[in-house]
Amino acid sequence: MYTQAMDIPDESGKKLAAVSNAPSDQEAAFEARIDADGRIEPQDWMPEAYRKTLVRQISQHAHSEIVGMLPEGNWISRAPSLKRKAILIAKVQDEGGHGLYLYSAAETLGTSRDQMLEGLHSGKAKYSSIFNYPTLNWADVGVIGWLVDGAAIMNQVPLCRCSYGPYARAMVRVCKEESFHQRQGYEALLVMMKGTEEQRAMVQDAVNRYWWKCLAMFGPPDADSPHSAQGMRWGIKRISNDDLRQKFIDATVPQAKVLGVTLPDPELKWNEARGHYDYGQIDWAEFWNTVEGNGPCNKERLATRVKAHNDGQWVRDAAQAYARKQKERALKEAA
Protein backbone atom coordinates (compact mmCIF):
# COMPACT_ATOMS: atom_id res chain seq x y z
CA MET A 1 0.00 0.00 0.00
CA TYR A 2 1.08 3.58 -0.05
CA THR A 3 -0.03 7.09 0.51
CA GLN A 4 -1.27 9.46 -2.12
CA ALA A 5 -0.60 12.06 0.44
CA MET A 6 2.67 13.46 -0.92
CA ASP A 7 0.91 16.72 -1.51
CA ILE A 8 -1.83 16.61 1.06
CA PRO A 9 -1.40 19.42 3.58
CA ASP A 10 -1.98 18.58 7.22
CA GLU A 11 -1.19 20.11 10.59
CA SER A 12 2.52 19.33 10.42
CA GLY A 13 2.87 21.20 7.15
CA LYS A 14 1.70 24.49 8.54
CA LYS A 15 5.13 25.62 9.64
CA LEU A 16 6.68 24.55 6.36
CA ALA A 17 7.57 28.06 5.39
CA ALA A 18 9.87 28.45 8.40
CA VAL A 19 13.17 29.90 7.28
CA SER A 20 16.24 28.17 8.61
CA ASN A 21 18.84 30.28 10.28
CA ALA A 22 21.65 27.80 9.81
CA PRO A 23 24.94 28.98 8.41
CA SER A 24 24.80 29.16 4.68
CA ASP A 25 27.82 26.90 4.11
CA GLN A 26 25.83 23.99 5.57
CA GLU A 27 22.96 24.85 3.31
CA ALA A 28 25.32 25.05 0.35
CA ALA A 29 26.78 21.64 1.20
CA PHE A 30 23.27 20.20 1.42
CA GLU A 31 22.23 21.72 -1.92
CA ALA A 32 25.43 20.49 -3.55
CA ARG A 33 24.81 16.97 -2.37
CA ILE A 34 21.23 17.07 -3.63
CA ASP A 35 22.42 18.42 -6.99
CA ALA A 36 24.94 15.59 -7.26
CA ASP A 37 22.08 13.12 -6.59
CA GLY A 38 23.73 12.18 -3.30
CA ARG A 39 21.97 10.85 -0.23
CA ILE A 40 21.17 12.61 3.03
CA GLU A 41 21.56 10.62 6.25
CA PRO A 42 19.95 11.31 9.66
CA GLN A 43 22.97 13.02 11.23
CA ASP A 44 23.58 15.31 8.26
CA TRP A 45 22.49 18.91 8.39
CA MET A 46 19.29 19.51 6.44
CA PRO A 47 16.96 22.48 6.00
CA GLU A 48 14.05 22.50 8.45
CA ALA A 49 11.56 22.47 5.58
CA TYR A 50 13.19 19.35 4.09
CA ARG A 51 12.95 17.62 7.46
CA LYS A 52 9.31 18.65 7.94
CA THR A 53 8.32 17.58 4.44
CA LEU A 54 9.88 14.18 5.03
CA VAL A 55 8.31 13.72 8.46
CA ARG A 56 4.92 14.55 7.01
CA GLN A 57 5.31 12.33 3.95
CA ILE A 58 6.88 9.32 5.69
CA SER A 59 4.46 9.39 8.62
CA GLN A 60 1.45 9.70 6.29
CA HIS A 61 2.89 6.81 4.32
CA ALA A 62 3.26 4.76 7.52
CA HIS A 63 -0.27 5.60 8.64
CA SER A 64 -1.56 4.47 5.24
CA GLU A 65 0.10 1.09 5.69
CA ILE A 66 -1.43 0.67 9.13
CA VAL A 67 -4.94 1.86 8.23
CA GLY A 68 -4.61 -0.15 5.00
CA MET A 69 -4.71 -3.31 7.11
CA LEU A 70 -8.33 -2.62 8.05
CA PRO A 71 -10.32 -2.96 4.79
CA GLU A 72 -8.63 -6.29 4.01
CA GLY A 73 -8.53 -7.41 7.62
CA ASN A 74 -12.32 -7.42 7.43
CA TRP A 75 -12.10 -10.36 5.04
CA ILE A 76 -9.65 -12.63 6.88
CA SER A 77 -12.44 -14.45 8.71
CA ARG A 78 -14.52 -14.67 5.53
CA ALA A 79 -11.90 -15.70 2.96
CA PRO A 80 -13.34 -18.36 0.62
CA SER A 81 -10.68 -21.00 1.35
CA LEU A 82 -7.88 -21.79 3.78
CA LYS A 83 -5.37 -20.98 1.04
CA ARG A 84 -6.83 -17.51 0.42
CA LYS A 85 -7.02 -16.92 4.15
CA ALA A 86 -3.34 -17.75 4.66
CA ILE A 87 -2.41 -15.47 1.74
CA LEU A 88 -4.52 -12.61 3.10
CA ILE A 89 -3.09 -12.94 6.60
CA ALA A 90 0.43 -12.81 5.12
CA LYS A 91 -0.44 -9.72 3.11
CA VAL A 92 -2.02 -7.90 6.03
CA GLN A 93 0.99 -8.80 8.17
CA ASP A 94 3.24 -7.33 5.46
CA GLU A 95 1.30 -4.06 5.61
CA GLY A 96 1.89 -3.91 9.35
CA GLY A 97 5.60 -4.52 8.71
CA HIS A 98 5.69 -1.78 6.08
CA GLY A 99 4.17 0.60 8.60
CA LEU A 100 6.93 -0.27 11.07
CA TYR A 101 9.77 0.21 8.55
CA LEU A 102 8.33 3.62 7.73
CA TYR A 103 7.71 4.76 11.31
CA SER A 104 11.33 3.84 12.06
CA ALA A 105 12.53 5.86 9.07
CA ALA A 106 10.49 8.87 10.21
CA GLU A 107 11.86 8.56 13.74
CA THR A 108 15.39 9.11 12.43
CA LEU A 109 14.23 12.67 11.66
CA GLY A 110 13.66 13.40 15.32
CA THR A 111 9.94 12.75 15.61
CA SER A 112 8.73 10.13 18.07
CA ARG A 113 6.46 7.18 17.46
CA ASP A 114 4.06 8.60 20.03
CA GLN A 115 3.84 11.92 18.26
CA MET A 116 3.05 10.17 15.00
CA LEU A 117 0.43 7.87 16.54
CA GLU A 118 -1.10 10.84 18.28
CA GLY A 119 -1.33 12.62 14.93
CA LEU A 120 -3.07 9.63 13.36
CA HIS A 121 -5.44 8.93 16.24
CA SER A 122 -6.48 12.53 16.71
CA GLY A 123 -7.23 12.90 13.01
CA LYS A 124 -4.57 15.58 12.54
CA ALA A 125 -2.45 13.45 10.22
CA LYS A 126 -3.70 12.13 6.89
CA TYR A 127 -3.49 8.68 5.34
CA SER A 128 -4.34 7.42 1.88
CA SER A 129 -7.99 8.17 1.14
CA ILE A 130 -8.39 4.88 -0.75
CA PHE A 131 -8.87 3.15 2.61
CA ASN A 132 -11.90 5.24 3.41
CA TYR A 133 -13.96 3.18 0.97
CA PRO A 134 -15.64 -0.05 2.01
CA THR A 135 -14.71 -3.58 0.90
CA LEU A 136 -18.15 -4.90 0.03
CA ASN A 137 -17.35 -8.38 -1.27
CA TRP A 138 -14.51 -10.83 -1.83
CA ALA A 139 -13.74 -9.41 -5.28
CA ASP A 140 -12.82 -6.13 -3.57
CA VAL A 141 -9.93 -7.90 -1.86
CA GLY A 142 -8.62 -9.05 -5.25
CA VAL A 143 -9.10 -5.61 -6.76
CA ILE A 144 -7.24 -3.96 -3.88
CA GLY A 145 -4.28 -6.26 -4.56
CA TRP A 146 -4.35 -5.73 -8.31
CA LEU A 147 -5.18 -2.01 -8.57
CA VAL A 148 -4.46 -0.40 -5.20
CA ASP A 149 -1.19 -2.24 -4.69
CA GLY A 150 -0.46 -1.86 -8.39
CA ALA A 151 -0.77 1.91 -8.00
CA ALA A 152 1.34 1.66 -4.86
CA ILE A 153 4.15 -0.07 -6.74
CA MET A 154 4.16 2.64 -9.43
CA ASN A 155 4.61 5.24 -6.76
CA GLN A 156 6.99 3.38 -4.48
CA VAL A 157 9.56 2.21 -6.99
CA PRO A 158 10.83 5.76 -7.66
CA LEU A 159 10.85 6.38 -3.90
CA CYS A 160 13.61 3.77 -3.61
CA ARG A 161 15.83 6.53 -5.08
CA CYS A 162 14.62 9.17 -2.62
CA SER A 163 17.36 11.52 -1.41
CA TYR A 164 16.75 10.62 2.24
CA GLY A 165 18.65 7.38 2.95
CA PRO A 166 16.46 5.75 5.62
CA TYR A 167 13.28 6.37 3.58
CA ALA A 168 14.86 5.00 0.39
CA ARG A 169 16.11 1.89 2.23
CA ALA A 170 12.68 1.28 3.77
CA MET A 171 11.15 1.55 0.31
CA VAL A 172 13.54 -1.02 -1.15
CA ARG A 173 12.32 -3.48 1.46
CA VAL A 174 8.67 -2.56 0.89
CA CYS A 175 8.93 -2.87 -2.89
CA LYS A 176 10.40 -6.36 -2.65
CA GLU A 177 7.27 -7.48 -0.82
CA GLU A 178 4.72 -5.46 -2.77
CA SER A 179 4.91 -7.55 -5.91
CA PHE A 180 3.40 -10.52 -4.06
CA HIS A 181 0.49 -8.29 -3.05
CA GLN A 182 -0.38 -7.32 -6.59
CA ARG A 183 0.06 -10.79 -8.04
CA GLN A 184 -2.04 -12.54 -5.42
CA GLY A 185 -4.86 -10.06 -6.05
CA TYR A 186 -4.75 -10.42 -9.80
CA GLU A 187 -4.63 -14.19 -9.54
CA ALA A 188 -7.59 -14.27 -7.14
CA LEU A 189 -9.56 -12.26 -9.73
CA LEU A 190 -8.49 -14.59 -12.56
CA VAL A 191 -9.92 -17.50 -10.57
CA MET A 192 -13.21 -15.65 -10.05
CA MET A 193 -13.40 -14.79 -13.75
CA LYS A 194 -13.24 -18.52 -14.53
CA GLY A 195 -16.20 -19.08 -12.21
CA THR A 196 -19.89 -18.33 -12.55
CA GLU A 197 -21.57 -15.38 -14.25
CA GLU A 198 -22.31 -14.00 -10.79
CA GLN A 199 -18.64 -14.15 -9.80
CA ARG A 200 -17.60 -12.35 -12.98
CA ALA A 201 -20.16 -9.68 -12.23
CA MET A 202 -18.69 -9.27 -8.74
CA VAL A 203 -15.24 -8.65 -10.22
CA GLN A 204 -16.56 -6.12 -12.71
CA ASP A 205 -18.52 -4.35 -9.97
CA ALA A 206 -15.44 -4.12 -7.74
CA VAL A 207 -13.36 -2.77 -10.65
CA ASN A 208 -16.07 -0.20 -11.40
CA ARG A 209 -16.09 1.02 -7.82
CA TYR A 210 -12.31 1.14 -7.36
CA TRP A 211 -10.91 2.30 -10.72
CA TRP A 212 -11.38 6.05 -10.35
CA LYS A 213 -10.36 6.01 -6.71
CA CYS A 214 -7.11 4.30 -7.68
CA LEU A 215 -6.38 7.00 -10.27
CA ALA A 216 -6.94 9.63 -7.57
CA MET A 217 -4.37 7.85 -5.34
CA PHE A 218 -1.59 9.48 -7.35
CA GLY A 219 -2.66 12.83 -5.97
CA PRO A 220 -3.90 16.06 -7.55
CA PRO A 221 -2.87 17.03 -11.12
CA ASP A 222 0.63 18.50 -11.35
CA ALA A 223 -0.80 21.97 -11.92
CA ASP A 224 -2.55 21.80 -8.52
CA SER A 225 0.31 20.26 -6.53
CA PRO A 226 2.05 23.10 -4.77
CA HIS A 227 4.57 20.92 -2.93
CA SER A 228 5.51 18.80 -5.93
CA ALA A 229 8.11 21.11 -7.45
CA GLN A 230 10.00 21.48 -4.16
CA GLY A 231 9.75 17.72 -3.56
CA MET A 232 11.24 17.09 -7.00
CA ARG A 233 13.96 19.67 -6.39
CA TRP A 234 14.93 17.89 -3.16
CA GLY A 235 14.89 14.44 -4.73
CA ILE A 236 12.09 13.33 -2.42
CA LYS A 237 9.72 12.94 -5.32
CA ARG A 238 11.16 11.61 -8.57
CA ILE A 239 8.20 11.39 -10.96
CA SER A 240 5.21 13.76 -11.06
CA ASN A 241 1.68 12.74 -10.05
CA ASP A 242 0.36 12.91 -13.60
CA ASP A 243 3.27 10.96 -15.08
CA LEU A 244 2.86 8.20 -12.48
CA ARG A 245 -0.88 8.10 -13.12
CA GLN A 246 -0.29 7.76 -16.86
CA LYS A 247 2.24 4.98 -16.29
CA PHE A 248 -0.27 3.13 -14.13
CA ILE A 249 -3.05 3.44 -16.71
CA ASP A 250 -0.80 2.32 -19.56
CA ALA A 251 0.28 -0.73 -17.56
CA THR A 252 -3.20 -1.62 -16.34
CA VAL A 253 -5.26 -1.50 -19.54
CA PRO A 254 -3.67 -4.65 -21.04
CA GLN A 255 -3.99 -6.43 -17.68
CA ALA A 256 -7.73 -5.66 -17.62
CA LYS A 257 -8.02 -7.13 -21.10
CA VAL A 258 -6.38 -10.40 -20.07
CA LEU A 259 -8.59 -10.53 -17.01
CA GLY A 260 -11.69 -9.92 -19.12
CA VAL A 261 -13.04 -6.83 -17.39
CA THR A 262 -13.74 -3.36 -18.74
CA LEU A 263 -12.45 -0.20 -17.07
CA PRO A 264 -15.30 2.22 -16.33
CA ASP A 265 -14.11 5.13 -18.46
CA PRO A 266 -15.74 5.75 -21.87
CA GLU A 267 -12.94 8.16 -22.76
CA LEU A 268 -10.21 5.61 -22.17
CA LYS A 269 -8.52 5.00 -25.53
CA TRP A 270 -5.10 4.62 -27.05
CA ASN A 271 -3.59 7.82 -28.39
CA GLU A 272 -1.15 6.92 -31.12
CA ALA A 273 0.40 10.38 -31.23
CA ARG A 274 1.11 10.51 -27.49
CA GLY A 275 1.96 6.84 -27.20
CA HIS A 276 -0.28 6.69 -24.13
CA TYR A 277 -3.88 6.02 -23.20
CA ASP A 278 -6.13 9.07 -22.93
CA TYR A 279 -8.52 9.03 -19.98
CA GLY A 280 -11.49 10.93 -18.59
CA GLN A 281 -11.93 13.43 -15.78
CA ILE A 282 -11.24 12.38 -12.20
CA ASP A 283 -13.77 13.59 -9.65
CA TRP A 284 -11.46 15.74 -7.50
CA ALA A 285 -14.30 17.15 -5.46
CA GLU A 286 -15.03 13.66 -4.19
CA PHE A 287 -11.33 13.06 -3.54
CA TRP A 288 -10.95 16.19 -1.43
CA ASN A 289 -14.17 15.51 0.39
CA THR A 290 -12.76 12.13 1.45
CA VAL A 291 -9.40 13.64 2.37
CA GLU A 292 -11.25 16.15 4.53
CA GLY A 293 -12.75 13.28 6.50
CA ASN A 294 -16.15 12.87 4.87
CA GLY A 295 -15.62 9.64 2.92
CA PRO A 296 -17.87 6.66 3.56
CA CYS A 297 -15.51 4.98 6.08
CA ASN A 298 -13.27 7.72 7.55
CA LYS A 299 -14.89 7.63 10.97
CA GLU A 300 -15.14 3.86 11.11
CA ARG A 301 -11.49 3.35 10.12
CA LEU A 302 -10.17 5.80 12.66
CA ALA A 303 -12.40 4.44 15.42
CA THR A 304 -11.28 0.86 14.66
CA ARG A 305 -7.65 1.92 14.69
CA VAL A 306 -7.94 3.81 18.00
CA LYS A 307 -9.84 0.93 19.59
CA ALA A 308 -7.20 -1.59 18.49
CA HIS A 309 -4.52 0.62 19.97
CA ASN A 310 -6.33 1.11 23.26
CA ASP A 311 -7.22 -2.58 23.51
CA GLY A 312 -3.52 -3.36 23.18
CA GLN A 313 -2.52 -1.05 26.01
CA TRP A 314 -2.46 -3.82 28.63
CA VAL A 315 -0.06 -5.85 26.44
CA ARG A 316 2.35 -2.92 26.20
CA ASP A 317 2.06 -2.28 29.93
CA ALA A 318 2.62 -5.94 30.76
CA ALA A 319 5.68 -6.19 28.50
CA GLN A 320 7.16 -3.16 30.18
CA ALA A 321 6.39 -4.39 33.70
CA TYR A 322 7.98 -7.73 32.84
CA ALA A 323 11.10 -6.07 31.43
CA ARG A 324 11.41 -3.94 34.56
CA LYS A 325 11.03 -6.96 36.82
CA GLN A 326 13.63 -8.94 34.90
CA LYS A 327 16.07 -6.06 35.17
CA GLU A 328 15.51 -5.73 38.92
CA ARG A 329 16.00 -9.47 39.37
CA ALA A 330 19.24 -9.39 37.41
CA LEU A 331 20.50 -6.50 39.54
CA LYS A 332 19.61 -8.32 42.76
CA GLU A 333 21.39 -11.47 41.64
CA ALA A 334 24.46 -9.49 40.72
CA ALA A 335 24.52 -7.79 44.12
Binding site: E41, E118, Q313
Partner: protein, 98 residues
Protein backbone atom coordinates in the same frame (compact mmCIF):
# COMPACT_ATOMS: atom_id res chain seq x y z
CA UNK B 1 -6.40 10.97 22.73
CA UNK B 2 -3.77 9.76 25.11
CA UNK B 3 -1.36 7.28 23.56
CA UNK B 4 1.33 6.44 26.10
CA UNK B 5 2.39 3.70 23.73
CA UNK B 6 6.01 3.33 23.02
CA UNK B 7 7.75 6.20 24.66
CA UNK B 8 9.04 3.91 27.37
CA UNK B 9 9.97 1.13 25.02
CA UNK B 10 13.56 1.75 23.98
CA UNK B 11 14.72 1.68 20.38
CA UNK B 12 16.77 -1.30 19.16
CA UNK B 13 18.89 -1.64 16.04
CA UNK B 14 18.42 -4.92 14.19
CA UNK B 15 21.20 -6.82 12.40
CA UNK B 16 20.43 -9.90 10.33
CA UNK B 17 22.78 -12.59 9.01
CA UNK B 18 21.21 -13.62 5.74
CA UNK B 19 23.03 -16.93 5.55
CA UNK B 20 25.63 -18.91 7.38
CA UNK B 21 29.07 -17.62 6.50
CA UNK B 22 27.99 -14.02 5.88
CA UNK B 23 28.17 -11.09 8.27
CA UNK B 24 25.26 -9.63 10.22
CA UNK B 25 24.02 -6.57 8.38
CA UNK B 26 22.04 -3.65 9.74
CA UNK B 27 18.49 -3.83 8.43
CA UNK B 28 16.44 -1.45 10.56
CA UNK B 29 15.19 -0.62 14.01
CA UNK B 30 12.21 -1.20 16.27
CA UNK B 31 10.83 -0.46 19.73
CA UNK B 32 10.66 -3.22 22.33
CA UNK B 33 10.44 -3.48 26.11
CA UNK B 34 13.48 -5.75 26.44
CA UNK B 35 16.04 -7.71 24.43
CA UNK B 36 13.97 -10.89 24.23
CA UNK B 37 10.94 -9.03 22.92
CA UNK B 38 13.16 -7.10 20.50
CA UNK B 39 14.39 -10.43 19.09
CA UNK B 40 10.85 -11.74 18.71
CA UNK B 41 9.68 -8.60 16.98
CA UNK B 42 12.76 -8.46 14.75
CA UNK B 43 11.97 -11.99 13.62
CA UNK B 44 8.40 -10.98 12.69
CA UNK B 45 9.29 -7.64 11.14
CA UNK B 46 12.50 -8.41 9.27
CA UNK B 47 12.57 -12.15 8.49
CA UNK B 48 9.12 -13.08 7.18
CA UNK B 49 10.61 -14.53 4.01
CA UNK B 50 13.64 -16.42 5.24
CA UNK B 51 15.81 -13.31 5.02
CA UNK B 52 17.93 -14.51 7.89
CA UNK B 53 19.41 -17.34 9.94
CA UNK B 54 20.54 -15.21 12.87
CA UNK B 55 19.52 -11.87 14.41
CA UNK B 56 21.34 -9.41 16.66
CA UNK B 57 19.51 -6.64 18.47
CA UNK B 58 21.46 -3.79 20.04
CA UNK B 59 20.04 -0.92 22.11
CA UNK B 60 20.30 2.11 19.83
CA UNK B 61 21.73 4.19 22.70
CA UNK B 62 24.69 1.77 22.91
CA UNK B 63 25.92 2.80 19.47
CA UNK B 64 28.56 5.50 19.25
CA UNK B 65 28.64 7.04 15.80
CA UNK B 66 31.21 9.25 14.16
CA UNK B 67 30.18 12.85 13.71
CA UNK B 68 29.35 13.81 10.11
CA UNK B 69 31.17 17.11 10.69
CA UNK B 70 34.38 15.13 11.22
CA UNK B 71 34.01 13.32 7.94
CA UNK B 72 36.73 15.29 6.21
CA UNK B 73 39.16 14.94 9.08
CA UNK B 74 38.50 11.24 9.49
CA UNK B 75 38.27 9.98 5.96
CA UNK B 76 39.84 12.44 3.56
CA UNK B 77 43.46 11.65 4.58
CA UNK B 78 43.02 8.26 2.89
CA UNK B 79 42.18 9.91 -0.42
CA UNK B 80 45.79 10.78 -1.38
CA UNK B 81 47.27 7.44 -0.29
CA UNK B 82 46.62 5.70 -3.53
CA UNK B 83 49.76 3.59 -2.99
CA UNK B 84 47.63 1.56 -0.58
CA UNK B 85 45.82 0.08 -3.56
CA UNK B 86 47.27 -2.75 -5.66
CA UNK B 87 46.45 -0.90 -8.89
CA UNK B 88 49.06 1.76 -7.96
CA UNK B 89 51.84 -0.64 -8.97
CA UNK B 90 52.72 -1.41 -12.54
CA UNK B 91 53.86 -4.96 -13.08
CA UNK B 92 55.12 -6.24 -16.46
CA UNK B 93 52.47 -8.12 -18.39
CA UNK B 94 54.62 -11.25 -18.61
CA UNK B 95 54.42 -11.69 -14.83
CA UNK B 96 50.75 -12.55 -15.25
CA UNK B 97 48.24 -12.42 -12.45
CA UNK B 98 49.64 -11.12 -9.16
Amino acid sequence: MNTPALKDWPLWEVFVRSKQGLEHKHCGSLHAADAAQALHMARDVYTRRQEGVSIWVVPSVAITASNPDDKGELFDPAADKIYRHPTFYEIPEEVGHM
